[in-house]
């Protein structure tokens, strides 16, 4: 057969190898086993954090063809070429790739792939040495790098422009224009302001946005001389909130009015927290309530109670499922990305305004890609789509 003919130069090596292995396999039996796999390569698995080796091979001539005798491939590993091979696993027939996730970085390994029919096994030559290591760069995510650099570059460029005094237009968002109003209302009514930063921890981008906005709201309450109550459901959020509020009070020259006792930790429990905040609403009677961050099922419980106390409520979240509830129960709602744009609005600092403009350009680029890609796809070209495929995280 043509195949055999092609393999011929390797045959001697193959036989010698098997002899040298000194395994339990009897030579005669070996000869009756399935044809071996070919083109075995073992490489350090790319784009990983180490600890794994990728082995690839071309399947045996008897796998799905020829004698149809291959049941699977046994993977064997050793730290020496000649001996000490141990069994790792068996992968089913038809497979041509295996990732060994059990390697120790810095150690050289040798692999043998044995095609087996259940009784006999025909081993490949050992491949190696191969050493696993962590990669600094994940090539599959080159597109991510480009996107990040592009977006950051845009943001930096616009920040720079804004710093130079170029006026940037910002579309009005009623909910944010109303912050002053809400705090003012609380002041006139002699009641506190309640700020709910959601039930997620500081690893959630919405919580971070919520805390940033808290800083802006705190500046207002400091100026107006109105108490600001912040119940939190995470200790870290409480810490961050205290720091943020303290700094805000300092910024507007009212450090004396800062009271850390009003920024409290309640509980990590979702509904325990909701019950606690509800209790605060009915007892402290805040005249303005802010909900800024990530919310789940407690959103309506909170917003409805707040509404019933007659407070002005301003909500902002990127949780699509909770938005409708906030919209119906609150006076103003920031929808999705408006939450992230909020701090730029409230501060009007060139830094933040510039970044907003940069992000808009990012969106414009995505729109352009969408348009172009879809048109290309309609004509059967998919390279843009392919380019967007990222290596798994």
């Amino acid at each position: 057969m043509r195949r055999y003919g092609r393999r011929a130069p390797y045959a001697t090596e193959f036989i010698i190898g098997i002899l040298l292995l000194g395994t339990s396999a009897v030579q005669g039996e070996a000869l009756s086993g399935p044809a071996p796999v070919t083109q075995v390569v073992a490489i350090d698995k790319p784009n990983d954090s180490g600890g794994s080796v990728l082995i690839r091979w071309k399947r045996s001539a008897d796998d799905g063809a020829g004698m149809m005798s291959v049941k699977g491939y046994e993977i064997l590993r050793s730290v020496e070429r000649e001996k000490g091979y141990e069994h790792l696993t068996v992968v089913p027939a038809g497979v041509e790739e295996y990732v060994d996730n059990t390697t120790v970085d810095g150690t050289s390994y040798f692999y043998i792939i044995g095609a087996t029919d259940g009784v006999h096994r025909t081993d490949s030559d050992p491949v190696g040495p191969v050493m696993s290591s962590a990669q600094w760069f994940h090539q599959g995510r080159l597109n991510m790098l480009i996107a990040t650099v592009l977006l950051s570059g845009l943001v930096l460029w616009f920040i720079n422009r804004a710093k130079k005094g170029k006026k940037l237009y910002i579309r009005p968002i009623a909910g944010l224009q109303a912050v002053d109003e809400a705090v003012g209302r609380a002041t006139e009514m002699g009641r506190p302001v309640l700020y709910v930063p959601g039930i997620q921890d500081m690893d959630n981008i919405q919580t971070i946005a919520g805390i940033v906005i808290l800083g802006r709201v705190a500046e207002r309450t400091a100026q107006y001389g109105t108490p600001l109550i912040v119940p939190t459901s995470r200790s870290l959020v409480m810490t961050a909130a205290q720091e943020t509020v303290k700094e805000a009070y300092l910024n507007v020259g009212r450090p004396d009015a800062y009271n850390p006792d009003l920024i409290r930790y309640l509980t990590d429990d979702q509904f325990g927290y909701a019950a606690g905040v509800d209790g605060m609403m009915v007892r402290e009677k805040p005249a303005a309530i802010f909900y800024m961050g990530a919310f789940y099922a407690e959103s309506l419980i909170l917003a409805e109670t707040g509404h019933s106390t007659g407070a002005i409520q301003i909500a902002g979240t990127a949780m699509p499922a909770q938005l409708p509830f906030f919209v119906t129960a609150c006076d103003y709602t920031l929808i999705g990305e408006e939450l992230f744009a909020a701090s730029a609005y409230l501060s009007k600092e060139p830094l933040l305004l510039g970044s907003l403009k940069g992000q808009d350009w990012g969106k414009a680029i995505f729109i352009a890609i969408l348009l172009l890609g879809s048109i290309l796809a309609s004509f059967g070209h998919y390279f843009l789509s392919d380019w967007l495929t990222t290596g798994s995280l």
């Binding site: 009212r254 004396d256 009015a257 800062y258 009271n259 006792d261």
Partner: protein, 379 residues
């Protein structure tokens, strides 16, 4: 109406000037009627209440406002030094004590148990009023001030900056059309009042301020230069409180404006004498114009001082105060009583003026001002 309303600036070589010297608040008058005073004699004195500082005791100590009184170390009326502890909270076993310090030296004016704040009043500062002009005290308002009277030359400007000042008159221009560029100003001008011509430049103003010149009397100034000198734009026409260390009196207007020869000559005649000047200007009801007063040694004037200004008449000397012909002098030729249409098509009361160069022009009456020589009492 017997005569048109023609505001005029007074330029008088000898008149009776009465100046009211009042305290901003009630205080003590240090002189009596009949006393001779020098311009720098202090005639009245008072204490201006100090500023206030508030301290948020409730916030600093972390206590409710109604408890503030309990934690006060100092009470209402007590004097405090800057940095002195005025309130102290007692925590558990002396731990967690918080203290509030006074940011200023003064006394505790009030303690509020509603706002939780303490108001500290800074010490009062003395205010003194001097006589401003050399002269005689003729009247005293108890606890408020007095009137100082003098006989002298009195010249009003049209606009000025800077408050009361005084100094010896010196001449830095040869003609009333000269421009004061600054080269003429040196150390010898310190404390003097400079008589100059048609324009003062920004450079000259800066130099004069640097050399400690008391005042400058000049025909005109470019608005741009004035703005640059002050560092801001004058909005409404109230001046006098600028703190540039120099008093500027403009006699004609903005732009390059030859000083009226009469004013110039009168001033030059008084070179070497001490002048009291004030740049304070207020242009609205109750107009205040800047002034130059040069007290003279001669005795009081006779009874003609009470004569009222006669108003605009044929032959009256006038100055034109709006474009075209701005700054030109002339004599009234005719005063037609009926309204006439001018170039803008507005129908206004007009007069005919013969300019100094012989031209005869018809102008709205509102655009001329009389050069008054009345000798009525100047307040």
């Amino acid at each position: 109406m017997a005569h048109a309303y023609t505001p005029g600036l007074r330029i008088t070589d000898k008149t009776l000037v009465r100046k009211e010297r009042r305290l901003p608040l009630k205080g003590e008058v240090l002189t009596a009627p009949g006393n001779r005073v020098q311009a720098d004699t202090v005639v009245a004195r008072t204490d201006l209440p100090g500023g206030i500082q508030t301290v948020n005791i409730a916030g600093i100590l972390g206590i409710p406002p109604e408890d503030v009184r309990r934690y006060m170390v100092k009470q209402e009326g007590d004097g405090v030094e800057e940095g002195e502890v005025i309130a102290r909270s007692r925590g558990f076993f002396g731990l967690f004590t918080a203290i509030a310090k006074s940011p200023v030296t003064g006394h505790i004016e009030s303690v509020s148990d509603v706002t939780g704040q303490v108001i500290i009043r800074e010490p009062s500062s003395p205010v003194e009023v001097d006589a401003y002009v050399d002269g005689e005290v003729v009247e005293v308002f108890e606890n408020e001030g007095c009137v100082v009277q003098t006989v002298g030359t009195f010249i009003q400007g049209i606009f000025g900056i800077g408050g009361e000042s005084r100094g010896e008159l010196i001449k830095v221009a040869d003609t009333p059309a000269d421009i004061l560029t600054g080269d003429e100003i040196d150390g010898s001008c310190r404390g003097k009042v400079l008589i100059s011509g048609a324009l003062v430049t920004r450079e000259a103003l800066d130099k004069a301020a640097k050399e400690g010149v008391s005042g400058i009397i000049v025909g005109g100034i470019d608005d741009r230069d004035l703005m640059d000198f002050l560092g801001y734009e004058i909005g409404v026409a109230i001046t006098g409180s600028e703190e540039k260390g120099i008093t500027l009196i403009i006699t004609e207007g903005f732009g390059r404006m030859k000083m009226t020869s009469r004013t110039f000559e009168l001033l030059v005649e008084r070179v070497g004498k001490r002048a009291s000047i004030n740049g304070t200007t207020q242009i609205r009801a109750g107009v205040i114009r800047p002034e130059v007063i040069i007290p003279l040694d001669t005795g009081p004037l006779s009874d003609e001082t009470k004569k009222e200004s006669p108003g605009l008449e044929i032959g009256s000397p006038v100055r034109i105060i709006r474009e075209p012909y701005f700054g030109a002098l002339g004599k009234v030729l005719t005063l037609p009583s009926e309204l006439q249409e001018i170039e803008t098509e507005a129908r206004v009361r007009v007069l005919e003026v013969q300019l100094e160069d012989g031209r005869r022009v018809v102008l709205p009456r509102a655009n001329v001002e009389m050069i008054e020589e009345g000798r009525s009492v100047i307040r």
